[in-house]
């Protein structure tokens, strides 16, 4: 069947089967940031946003996406690069394979939670596995990034 949806603010169409999962469709459409790590919703590598909410694209049927809005890392590249610099500064992007899915979820958290504490951050990102870092560098990067974001919004509010 043919589906139509918005991918990174552009209207796209794709020919999919009843059992086609979204992950492969997105990669075929050129969004190579979306990685497959486990196929069973355990690792977080394939995190994208559907209508603004984080979802694991390995477990979403493409047929159900018809008419919806999908965002991948390619769609928020500038914001990703900005947070990515914090991640890199802390050594949190070693092999980098988990980075796109992880960053998508961090940016989703930024939109959803106001001023999260360490426990809330850990809980929000519990589904994003990383094998290289041991997570400490990632948590440092998030906290520093969030602090800077808060200062920015603070300044904007004052202005």
């Amino acid at each position: 069947m043919e589906i139509q949806f918005t991918l990174n603010k552009k209207q796209v169409t794709a020919e999919v089967g009843a059992d086609t999962v979204l992950l492969g469709v997105l990669r075929d459409l050129g969004c190579k940031s979306v990685k497959c790590g486990c196929e069973t919703t355990n690792c977080g590598l394939c995190t994208v946003w559907i209508d603004g909410k984080s979802r694991l694209s390995c477990s979403v049927l493409a047929a159900g996406i018809d008419g919806h809005e999908v965002t991948t890392l390619e769609g928020v590249e500038e914001e990703a690069a900005e947070f990515g610099r914090f991640l890199a500064a802390e050594g949190g992007e070693q092999c980098g394979f988990c980075s796109p899915g992880f960053i998508m979820n961090v940016l989703a958290m930024k939109r959803e939670l106001e001023d999260p504490d360490l426990e809330e951050i850990k809980e929000y990102l519990a589904g994003n596995l990383c094998r290289c870092t041991g997570y400490m560098s990632q948590l440092r990067a998030i906290q520093k990034y969030m602090t800077v974001q808060k200062e920015k919004t603070g300044k904007e509010a004052q202005a």
Binding site: A88, G96, I103
Partner: protein, 602 residues
């Protein structure tokens, strides 16, 4: 962290710089194997044995081949009958040549029975269901304690081959066997006040890197096999594919893109042979992407081991003798079997350098479970767990603080280590390390345990470990640096960045040695056609081994730059100095820039 003397003045090394590939990684650029594979690649999948031990009696592929989109279905009849190893090791490999790409004998649940290649995932999956395989199911060897001299042989074949004297014997299910000793261990143990006698069992475990095993292959303009693979050992993969396909090494080119973690798993060529065979047979591009399940069930985990430790000491706590027997389970094939077992003894017994006698005996056995491989620590972890546990048990018996027991017995700088090839510990800070660790733990306040007052008791424990960077007199690193027009440098490396950052740190070292900025250096690796030979990235050795290659290459290059500079300035090379940007005639003050030299040498 304290910087060592001499590194304080460094300009580029020891500075926190972002990795040279960081921007690409955090913006999700297409830099990994599956991102780079052409869209017209044949999809390659493996039909895997449901039996731990069986012989294929018949494979009927007729119905499967009729599925639209199926390109080929390959069986053992399509493979060279010449055995090889998948272990990424320096030639001649210690691991026996015991594999075929596809074999008639199935040796574990998950062993490759047939390869199916087709234009789409759907077609391949459909065809896999239609292949009919008749197996003669055989009794397997599943308990590694019963494998040695078991009448059931995992490798009864006559073309099994061991290249190195590691005590391997396929007619006894032995992948390796050996003993090393010093002093009369039995006499020493008989004379000890206490002997701790324990058996420890460690299970296999998976490296579980985020990117599963994957490879794509195609033929290039010259009809050569091009291989892009997620590997730690590109040069070894070139040899392995040449062995597996029985084609000259010159026909194979291996490229390593970014790789999503390895941890030793990709020190074995787990996925490469399958698409390589398909491409070689069909001339078409092909790729295999292991599922997570395949990555866990048909790969290269840590060796399961059982270790019998006998540890003798006197009443005061002087460790007088260590006897260690390691039984290692290499599984269906011998990848890294003969070498990992060595570390279980060589990296544990020498920690106790004051012992009068030691003995280290081992058997590495074949069984009908998944083959094992390399994993961080490479066998040392298993041996350390056993010996260090036994030392803690001894501390308990002696009613001694286990850190004090270790301080009494540990190897110190300058000690000869009979259990480590008789080498002297020339670089060893174990004593300082333990002292610092105790301080950081707050050991003296916390040992042995504290009642937290809330129904919980918290204790502390200790274990030591030793590690070396690289395999001495075996590992090789090399780099090539060239000066380009306009005077920027190309740093060609064969070492494998797998997220470990060697592309970055080697560039830092080169910039340091050449007195330039990192931007002046472009780094390139790894392509076996153009990169200089490197044994690959393992054994925590790249910084040390390949790093020294960078230092020496830069020294040689600076000499050449001075020679050219002197020539262009019309003076003696003895009168010039290179400051990174220009060559200066110290007598006249005349100079020529690196850029100018770069353009003139072209």
């Amino acid at each position: 962290m304290n910087m060592t003397e001499g590194s304080k003045d460094m300009r580029v090394v020891n500075q926190a710089v972002p990795k040279v590939d960081a921007e690409a990684l955090v913006t999700g650029k297409a830099v990994y194997t599956n991102d780079l594979a052409p869209s017209d690649c044949l999809i390659v999948k493996i039909i895997r044995s449901p039996h731990a031990h069986a012989l294929i009696k018949d494979i009927n592929t007729a119905r499967a081949e009729a599925v639209p989109g199926i390109e080929c279905i390959l069986t053992y009849k399509d493979c060279p009958d010449k055995r090889f190893t998948l272990a990424g090791q320096t030639y001649p490999e210690a691991s026996p040549y015991d594999r075929l790409i596809l074999d008639q004998r199935m040796r574990f649940v998950g062993d490759a029975a047939a390869i199916v290649a087709g234009t789409s995932e759907e077609a391949v999956k459909k065809a896999m269901k239609l292949v009919r395989i008749k197996y003669e199911v055989l009794e397997p060897v599943l308990d590694f304690r019963t494998a040695k001299d078991n009448p059931i042989l995992v490798h009864p074949e006559d073309n099994w081959k061991s290249l190195c004297p590691v005590g391997a014997d396929n007619k006894r299910n032995l992948c390796a066997q050996g003993v090393s000793e010093s002093g009369d261990i039995e006499a020493v143990l008989a004379d000890c006040d206490y002997v701790v006698d324990r058996v420890y069992h460690t299970k296999a475990n998976q490296q579980a890197m985020m990117e599963t095993f994957r490879t794509y292959t195609c033929l290039d303009t010259y009809g050569r096999l091009n291989v892009v693979s997620s590997t730690q050992v590109p040069f070894h993969v070139r040899r392995i594919l040449s062995n597996a396909l029985d084609i000259p090494k010159s026909k194979v080119r291996v490229i390593k893109p970014r790789i999503g973690g390895g941890f030793g798993a990709k020190q074995t060529a787990v996925s490469e042979v399958y698409p390589a065979l398909v491409t070689w047979k069909t001339g078409k591009p092909a790729k295999i992407i292991f599922t997570r399940e395949e990555s866990l069930t048909a790969s290269s985990p840590r060796h399961e081991m059982e270790m019998h430790v006998r540890l003798g000491a006197d009443k005061e706590g002087h460790i007088r003798g260590i006897d260690l027997y390691t039984l290692s389970n290499t599984g269906a094939f011998g990848e890294h079997g003969p070498t990992t077992v060595g570390l279980s003894g060589h990296k544990s017994i020498p920690l106790y350098g004051k012992a009068e006698a030691f003995r280290f005996t081992y058997d590495v056995v074949y069984t009908n479970v998944m083959s094992s491989g390399a994993y961080r620590g490479y066998g040392a972890t298993q041996g350390l767990f056993a010996v260090e546990s036994a030392v803690n048990e001894l501390a308990k018996i002696l009613d001694m603080d286990p850190t004090v027991l270790r301080e009494m017995n540990m190897v110190r700088e300058g000690d000869v280590m009979p259990a480590y090839y008789g080498e002297t510990a020339e670089s060893c800070a174990l004593d300082r390390c333990l002292a610092r660790a105790k301080e950081m733990i707050g050991w003296d306040e916390k040992y042995p345990c504290r009642d937290m007052g809330n129904g919980k008791v918290r204790g502390v424990g200790v274990a030591m470990a030793m590690q070396g960077s690289g395999i001495s007199n075996v590992d090789t690193g090399s780099v090539a640096i060239k000066v380009n027009d306009d005077g920027f440098y190309s740093l060609m490396i064969g070492a494998t960045d797998m997220g470990t950052g060697c592309d970055t740190i080697l560039s830092q070292m080169a910039a340091e040695c050449l007195a330039c900025d990192m931007e002046d250096i472009i780094v390139h690796g790894v392509d076996t056609d153009t990169s200089p030979y490197d044994c690959g990235s393992y054994a925590s050795s790249t910084t040390y081994v390949t790093g020294m290659a960078v230092v020496r290459t830069c020294e040689a290059l600076v000499g050449k730059i001075c020679e050219r500079g002197a020539e262009y300035l019309g003076c003696s090379v003895d009168d010039v100095e290179f400051n990174g940007a220009e060559v200066i005639n110290l007598k006249t003050g005349e100079s020529i820039t690196r850029k100018e030299i770069g353009n003139r040498v072209m």
